[in-house]
């Protein structure tokens, strides 16, 4: 239960930051995708089920607050969490290279899917230009902030896991 509450608070904090502070540190008018970064980090630490649930909840909140339609961010977040949580048994969690690689791949495919589901059918087809102007800079910028955010989630997760181990011994 503390895990749910803490992660909920983290999501809320991230969305608040994403919608307020991050527009002040935009580079070429693009800001990093913190919610996605959070989903990828969490999925990497907790596996596919935790990742999918976390992605779905944070996506749904984003939908309700800022979405033009309901369900788009939720769907993409869930897919991202599920896929990034798949190889979770195969990697050490202390290694920073895996989350960086995962984030890069996830960010490009997330934004590409976002474009396909939302914009492609509106007749906006200049995909190469959008890739260069939006997707690529966003991915680069997200990669820059990957390590601190991953460390942050890693520490929170370790504390919760310690706490959970402790409570299980009690009961």
């Amino acid at each position: 239960m503390p895990r749910v509450l803490i992660m909920f608070a983290v999501i809320f904090l991230t969305l608040t930051l994403q919608s307020t502070a991050l527009s002040y540190i935009e580079i070429i008018n693009v800001k990093p995708n913190l919610p996605l970064l959070l989903i990828v980090s969490y999925a990497h630490l907790r596996g596919d089920m935790g990742g999918a649930a976390f992605g779905f909840v944070s996506g749904l909140l984003q939908d309700l607050l800022f979405g033009r339609v309901i369900g788009l961010y939720a769907m993409l977040g869930m897919i991202a969490g599920y896929i990034c949580g798949k190889p979770f048994k195969d990697f050490y969690k202390e290694n920073y290279l895996i989350p960086i690689f995962l984030t890069g791949a996830a960010c490009v495919s997330y934004e590409f899917l976002f474009y396909v589901t939302y914009f492609l059918f509106q007749g906006k087809v200049r995909i190469i230009s959008y890739f260069g102007r939006i997707i690529l800079p966003e991915t680069m910028y997200t990669l820059v902030v990957t390590i601190p955010v991953y460390r942050f989630i890693y520490n929170i997760n370790r504390r919760i896991e310690n706490h959970e181990r402790f409570t299980r011994k009690l009961f």
């Binding site: 809320f12 608040t16 002040y24 919610p35 089920m49 984003q62 309700l64 800022f66 200049r126 230009s129």
Partner: protein, 289 residues
């Protein structure tokens, strides 16, 4: 939990299908914010508002330290002065800064005195890089509804996309979902101002469907036309930056720099009555000007 884990793949697929359905439904039928939206809005709006003001304050502090040399020089002078005077001075400076911002907004109010207006502050911006919309701190409780027109220092900023109880989401004119019927103030040529995904990142938008024979030129002021049901006529929208010929050469289009700097607004004026509710006589009077 184990059962859940075993069937996770299937659950994911079912959830994806559900999401696709809600996407299609909410896309077709522009939804009113419901209970869930409003609950989230209630929680998030004050939080974002607080965060925004903290960030503004921090920005102010950094600006302060940026001028540290000036401040030192000023400080030696000020030391000789009476303490009360300096505090008074600082207080007045803050007030002046605030009033400068609000005066620019008031100018807009004075420019269009015909319309009843309400001020609002910006609390959050869209989270993704694909849209250009923002959230303001007033909603249905203050009488805001969908499609109300939003002005900012300079001219037209956008319109309200959805109004919750305590917040409203504003669609800016450079968002790719926005379209505004405009005309050139000098030549009277009509066109449709639309946001564009590529131009949005430069803070620009485009004016489409201009007649090939139209006399609109670079630097022309664009105002809202009288054809729209949402936007009152005669509000400054932007200035033509460049005119281009369409590849098929049947129409022209123009690159437009909006009169409002969308990326850096922090207070707006909302015309608090829908244009369609103005009575016909006053509407005629407005369009004749």
């Amino acid at each position: 939990m184990d059962v859940l884990r075993k069937r996770l793949g299937k659950i994911i697929i079912i959830m994806i299908v559900l999401c696709v359905i809600t996407i299609i439904v909410t896309r077709e039928y522009r939804f009113r914010p419901n209970l869930l939206d409003n609950a989230v809005g209630y929680a998030a709006t004050p939080l974002s508002g607080a965060a925004s003001s903290v960030i503004r304050w921090v920005g102010g502090v950094f600006d302060h330290f940026g001028d540290i040399n000036d401040i030192r020089a000023e400080n030696t002078k000020l030391r000789e002065r009476v303490e009360e005077l300096t505090t008074e001075n600082k207080r007045l400076k803050l007030v002046e800064e605030e009033s400068e911002k609000l005066t620019s907004l008031l100018k807009i109010d004075e420019k269009y005195p015909e319309y009843p207006k309400t001020g609002a502050r910006l609390v959050a911006r869209d989270t993704s890089n694909w849209f250009s919309s923002f959230i303001i701190d007033k909603g249905e409780n203050d009488g805001f509804t969908e499609n109300l027109v939003v002005l900012a220092p300079g001219g037209l900023a956008g319109r309200i996309l959805k109004a919750g109880d305590t917040y409203s989401e504003v669609l800016s004119i450079i968002d790719s979902a926005s379209s505004v019927s405009v005309q050139s103030a000098r030549a009277g040529d009509l066109g449709v101002l639309r946001g564009d995904l590529e131009l949005m990142k430069d803070g620009l938008c485009r004016m489409d469907y201009i007649d090939v024979n139209a006399r609109v030129m670079e630097g022309d002021e664009l105002i809202t036309s009288r054809l729209s049901d949402i936007f009152p006529a005669g509000i400054t929208v932007g200035y033509v930056k460049e005119i281009r010929m369409d590849a098929r050469a049947l129409v022209k289009y123009a690159i437009v720099r909006p009169a409002v700097d969308i990326q850096s607004i922090d207070a707006v004026m909302v015309i608090s009555e829908p244009y369609s509710s103005f009575d016909p006589a006053s509407k005629d009077a407005l369009t004749e000007e």
